[in-house]
Amino acid sequence: MTEKIRNVFATPAGVIGVGALIGILAALLQKFGNPPNMGICVACMERDIAGALGLHRAAVVQYLRPEILAFVLGSFVAALLAGEFRPRGGSAPVTRFFLGMAAMIGALVFLGCPWRALLRLAGGDGNAILGLAGLVVGIWIGTLFFKAGYSLGRSSGQGLSTGLLVPLLMLGLLILRLVYPPVEGQAQSGVLFYSAQGPGAAKAPLLFSLGAGLVIGALAQRSRFCTMGGIRDLILFRQFHLFSGMLSLLVVAWIVNLLLGQFHPGFQKQPIAHAQHLWNFAGMLVAGLAFALAGGCPGRQLFMAGEGDGDAGVFVLGMIVGAAVSHNFGLASSPQGIGPHGVAAVLIGLGVCLFVGFTNRQRV
């Protein structure tokens, strides 16, 4: 069998199209109620999920974001239909858990994942430039480790539970969301916490969030869309493939924001953002390095978890726990600036990533 195109979404046009669709849906999710410049943010939304489950008690960021659940389930269904669902794992899961924690802790110092960094820029938030610069430097450091033989070792085929547990967890959370819907003016509904005000109270209608999430999950699985991978491949291989999808997301979200009146350029008083440049840069540097060492941006980790990759699932769980730690220990930033222990968070997160990088150099 000779090489031919079997997956149209993995072509350059495919990945650009998927990036554009994410840009459109993210701007619309914001229009229909999600927080400003946060139509989609994998880090913030997982942080909100940690809050909804009571893993942290920051009252303004508690909501069981349906988008995250739908990303995994959409990817799961797409992988299943394409014959790509394959339970696998065993590549340094504990290390990946800590990388997930470090990634989330860094991202919450900046206040966003790479997707939100792009969406913040598309909404006019100049502070995102510092975050994106930090992301690039973090990923660049990651590529140095890869060139030095860094590897977390091989994964191997696993039993069905390894592939199914994370999609089942997301399904279970979705059922909880349906059984315990938000009640106006109440901070709790059944076992779930709901923000009465703040970003956690800003939400698009459930069906729109779910639908957008399922579509993005499925198409991102098919296209292998990855923001960290876009920057990494550009640095490591001078390859524009994934980067073009990322650029497409940025440009299309910017255009849709302009059309919807959601573009407000500036550095000060940007929504759910602070203007401490050094820490915007440093937080995202830690996150970028963690994503690079773990082999995917937080979105991609969700999509891989949907494909049955238990190691990616462990990274996702690490991110959710990292969010809880961030808010319980005062590591996360707020619009007022970095948290009381934000500096320590960045330094420890960087230390953990460098420790992982230096201790996993091997020739495979």
């Binding site: 090489e3 993995a10 890869f146 060139k147 091989r154 994964s155 990494r232 491949d233 291989f237 995917g296």
Partner: protein, 73 residues
């Protein structure tokens, strides 16, 4: 030059591409067999090979594994 082999099974991004491209640089011309165990790595290695001036002359699938034959004359 004979055929050399790269076993990238079970490795996550970007290692399959890194191993394949470093082998391409090392031997310059000839045949390289790259073994991967997922569709994403198959696509990525094929894309990197073509970008480096190599031809993907054959892809065979055995269960969950793909064997890619890369060639440059």
């Amino acid at each position: 030059m004979g055929r050399v082999s790269v076993d990238a099974r079970g490795l996550s991004c970007p290692q399959p591409v890194l191993l394949a491209t470093s082998k391409m640089k090392e031997i310059q011309t000839g045949e390289i067999e790259v073994i991967v165990d997922n569709e994403t790595s198959r696509e990525n290695v094929s894309r990197a090979a073509r970008a480096s001036g190599w031809e993907v002359v054959e892809v065979t699938q055995q269960g969950e594994e793909y064997r890619l034959l890369l060639e440059r004359k």
